[in-house]
Amino acid sequence: MSGYSVRRPLPLGLRLSMLLRLLAVQGSWNYETMLGNGIAFAMEPALRTLPGGRGGEAYRAAMARQARYFNAHPYLASFAVGALARAELDAVPATQIERFRAALCGPLGSIGDRLIWAGWLPCCAMLALLAFGLGASGGVVALLFLGTYNAGHIVLRTWGLNAGWRQGLQVAAALGRPLLRDLPQWLAAATAVTAAVALPLSVRRVIEMSGATVPSAAGTLVGAALVIGVLLGIALVRLQGRIEGWKVAFGVLLFVVLYSGLR
């Protein structure tokens, strides 16, 4: 067993190096190995401490194992990197590591997608739109969004790496916490409530600040935009999976802009 394994925390320098590499975990993302190469890349600093050091037999065997197919949410990949690094340094048998690695893919993907892509990101984006709608400047909107979003993002990556390292093959216990299970639902509710206030205010500010010469009261246009928005929104919800709203918007705007600009 190596010096870093079993109940010893990862040295700070090593942890920072792994965290920095985790930010580029999707650097060579592809349809063949997905995140696999990135996992090996992020874990490599820890593997240098294996017996024989860099280039040793254990190091090369571990690198070869970790560079194979792997898929997960990129932020939650930190759990996998921590846990797999711990397993490699604890000299867990290769077949057990490979089974564990395969078993991690599904949960890390689905938890991450629900928690981040369908929860935290839309919630923070709606918060930014709310600030915009209330008249905040670009700097304030950017600071609010990037500060809030990345506080959650960096905490999650750091916690994941530490929890993975601490719990090794038992990392499922950390993933089964009620917080991770319930948070997506709370975030979705918060997103919906924030959107309800943010969208009308944002629509109003876009219309008022666009520089367009408005022929009647701006409020009438805002009201019209919101009524059209609600009707189109209901149609998009009903046609979910069969149509993409942004493509519809692109088609409509392209047509009217070309028609207006060229005639």
């Binding site: 309800a196 189109l232 705007l253």
Partner: protein, 231 residues
């Protein structure tokens, strides 16, 4: 737009485009951030912010989930923000805003395809390097990562440069014509954004039905205030 300005915009587009997937995914690529930054670079952060807010609403629908193919909003928003804040916007701000939004939407679509192409290319390189990877050669692991990052940056910078350059060829007279009845087009763009963002928020909250109805009531109230129906 001058050559220097275009190069700075391309650099920003490269950074924002990379942020979508490869590095560091801190969401500087979100339209409300990337378009504002492009506007600030062009000397009109507010124009970039307005374009960014309209695009952010449209970008809420498709999130970068797994191996799905999705629009690339990073370089798109930089191009859109740059067009909305371009020197031509002084004479026809609403026309430039609309052109910026349409440019961004076209770029998001094209950028998504270039991202898909790069993923396939990364796959080819990965398959070719397989014997060295299976031998545990860490240099190949790092080389694949760096090559992917470098190509992604270049891809996004080129996409941004092409989109911004193409939009800058639109004659000022066309922008002025657009501005003529821009109120109608801006209202339509805002309505489309609200529809896409609102329907997305509704779908995300599928597991929280009570929150949906609270949100619907709040929307009605906030909408009445925004439209001036309620004080």
């Amino acid at each position: 737009m001058s050559g220097d300005a275009l190069l700075w915009i391309a650099l920003l587009g490269g950074i924002a485009g990379m942020d979508v997937v490869t590095f560091p995914q801190m969401m500087i690529s979100r339209p409300i951030i990337a378009a504002t930054a492009a506007g600030a670079l062009g000397g009109n952060a507010l124009a970039g912010l307005i374009a960014g807010a309209a695009l952010e609403m449209l970008a809420m629908e498709l999130l970068p989930v797994g191996a799905s193919r999705y629009p690339e909003w990073g370089s798109a928003a930089v191009a859109g923000g740059a067009v909305a804040a371009s020197p031509a916007a002084h004479a026809a701000p609403a026309g430039a805003l609309l052109l910026g939004i349409v440019t961004a939407l076209a770029t998001a679509w094209a950028g998504g395809w270039t991202m898909h192409g790069l993923r396939r290319l990364n796959g080819v390189w990965s398959v070719r390097a397989r014997p060295r990877l299976d031998a545990g050669d860490a240099r190949y692991v790092a080389a694949l990562q760096w090559r992917g990052l470098g190509f992604d940056f270049s891809r996004a910078a080129i996409v941004t440069l092409a989109a911004t350059g193409a939009a800058s060829l639109v004659p000022p007279a066309a922008l002025a014509r657009l501005s003529g009845h821009a109120w109608l087009l801006v209202t339509l763009a805002a309505a489309l954004g609200a529809a896409v963002a609102g329907s997305s928020a509704w779908r995300f909250a599928a597991g929280a039905p009570r929150a949906r109805w609270v949100a619907a009531a709040l929307f009605a109230a906030a909408g009445a205030v925004a439209a001036g129906v309620l004080p």
